[in-house]
């Protein structure tokens, strides 16, 4: 049984961690993640969450505490955003390398500088090769569901990798949305109590964790992580199928929307996907054959799914919500290009620091693709004309 409730992305994330029965919370508040820290504190105080709340002094400590707690054999919860995620960077590598299957909501916000509180993907993109899986949610419902899916996948003995569940700051984190909230018993049947398959902290069985590893073994340990990532698409798909059986909602590593007969498809990530689908419907009414391919799992990168979904599509575009400085195109476009070897893939950048990616922006991108005006270089879709003359000063 599930109930229908009104909440937002942060509410859904907090409920997801609560339903997963985390036993330790070590979170440091940062906009736009703060409501997650606050909600979890509320649950601990009102007794609905049986967890110890550690008031840490930084995100570096938040992740360190989560790692230590989880090594004792319980699920540990934390969440962050932007520069908080950047401050965690060192310790994120510890969780990944020690194969501690922490699941962490990341509320996407741009990185400095310029300072901004608002959404883009540069914070999580900066962590994309660090050994964490990354799932991107389109709605509050997906935030909750992907958290449960992430726990099952992360903790699978074949995987043992931590996961970030990424939700767009404000667009998802603060937007009210009606979601189906599953009951605790059903979640318990889908997600049994945590069992560690790897090393652990136990005074009766001492071991030296995260010790200096010689050159002769480092490559092999990195390879162990790569093997887990190779298996991850299959395990994720398995877990998603079981999720559908249990909760009735369908998920996949990618979601193709009206791609079958499409001449032009735009690849998206996160909350922009909803606007993209809406624009596709409007343009289809005008006779334009367009579609959206949403990437839910960016790590592992769903190369096979992307290849088959776009096999018969003429022109492909990718909207990156972060600038990939020094590269030809943004990070998502770079990988889609590599996957589709030879097919023209236009890289777009849009929606930085909370700038809305409107249907008009999507239409501009689709028009360019339908006119076959693709180039090797990135197009800044929503750039204002006065970009280089923003601040006038006395000479």
């Amino acid at each position: 049984m599930s109930s229908r409730i009104l909440t937002d992305g942060n509410g859904a994330a907090s409920l997801g961690l609560k339903l997963a029965r985390i036993r330790v919370v070590s979170a440091y508040p940062i906009t736009p993640q703060s409501p997650i820290s606050e909600k979890l504190a509320d649950y601990v105080v009102d007794g609905t969450l049986d967890a110890k709340y550690i008031r840490v002094e930084s995100e570096h400590s938040a992740m360190s505490c989560a790692i230590g707690a989880q090594l004792t054999g319980v699920r540990a919860g934390t969440a962050t955003s932007s520069v908080g995620l950047a401050l965690m960077h060192e310790v994120l590598g510890v969780a990944a390398g020690c194969r501690i299957p922490i699941v962490m909501p990341v509320v996407n916000r741009s990185l400095v500088s310029p300072w901004s509180l608002w959404c883009d993907h540069q914070d999580s993109m900066a962590e994309r090769d660090g050994g964490w899986m990354q799932l991107y949610a389109e709605s509050a419902q997906e935030v909750l569901d992907l958290i449960l899916i992430a726990y099952r996948t992360s903790e699978d003995a074949r995987i043992q990798l931590p996961t970030m569940v990424c939700l767009d700051g404000f667009f998802l984190s603060h937007m009210s949305d009606a979601i189906f909230l599953p009951d605790q018993d059903t979640v318990d049947s889908f997600l049994p109590p945590y069992v560690s398959h790897n090393f652990h902290l136990d005074p009766d069985d001492p071991m030296f964790i995260n010790d200096l590893t010689p050159t002769s073994e480092f490559t092999e340990m990195r390879y162990q992580q790569a093997v887990a990532f190779d298996k991850a698409p299959e395990v994720l798909a398995e877990v998603m199928a079981d999720f559908q059986k249990t909760f009735g909602r369908e998920y996949s590593l990618t979601e193709a929307y009206r791609c079958d007969d499409a001449e032009a498809v735009i690849v998206t990530l996160g909350s922009m996907s909803g606007t993209g689908k809406y624009t596709v419907d409007l343009l289809r009414e005008q006779g334009k054959r367009v579609g959206i391919l949403k990437i839910t799992s960016f790590r592992p990168f769903p190369a096979e799914q992307i290849k088959s979904a776009l096999a018969n599509v003429g022109t492909v575009g990718v909207i990156d919500r972060s600038a990939g400085f020094g590269a030809q195109v943004g990070p998502v476009a770079t990988e889609v290009r590599a996957t589709l070897r030879g097919k023209p893939v236009q890289g777009f950048i849009a929606g930085l620091a909370g700038r809305d990616i409107s249907p008009a922006v999507f239409k501009k991108a689709f028009t360019r693709l339908l006119d076959n005006e693709t180039t090797e270089h990135v197009e800044w879709l929503d750039l204002k004309e006065d970009a280089l003359t923003l601040r006038e000063v006395r000479s």
Partner: protein, 106 residues
Amino acid sequence: MQLQHKEPATDCKNTKRYYVGPVATEFVATKTGIWRTERPDVAIENCSFCGTCRKHCPTDVIIVEKDGDNRGVHFDWDYCKGCGICANVCPKKCIAMIPEAGACDL
């Protein structure tokens, strides 16, 4: 004393369960011999058993046996890093530094 390493220094092959990632379940010194890319090779017919190499070895891994069944110059390959000081100081110039197996096989 043992022969040149051909396998990585690990005992995982003899256990049935494996952990992944960095963990030590036994507390032993790191075998620095795995750093070696070259190793000393003694032309024993030219050696005078003077012991200069043993005295200069920074990791004290050389044993020089002048007589008996073990007559020879022996290296502890677990800890010899292949620094080459023994070859440099040898008054008879009878120690050559030769590449470890595999490093330069083309």
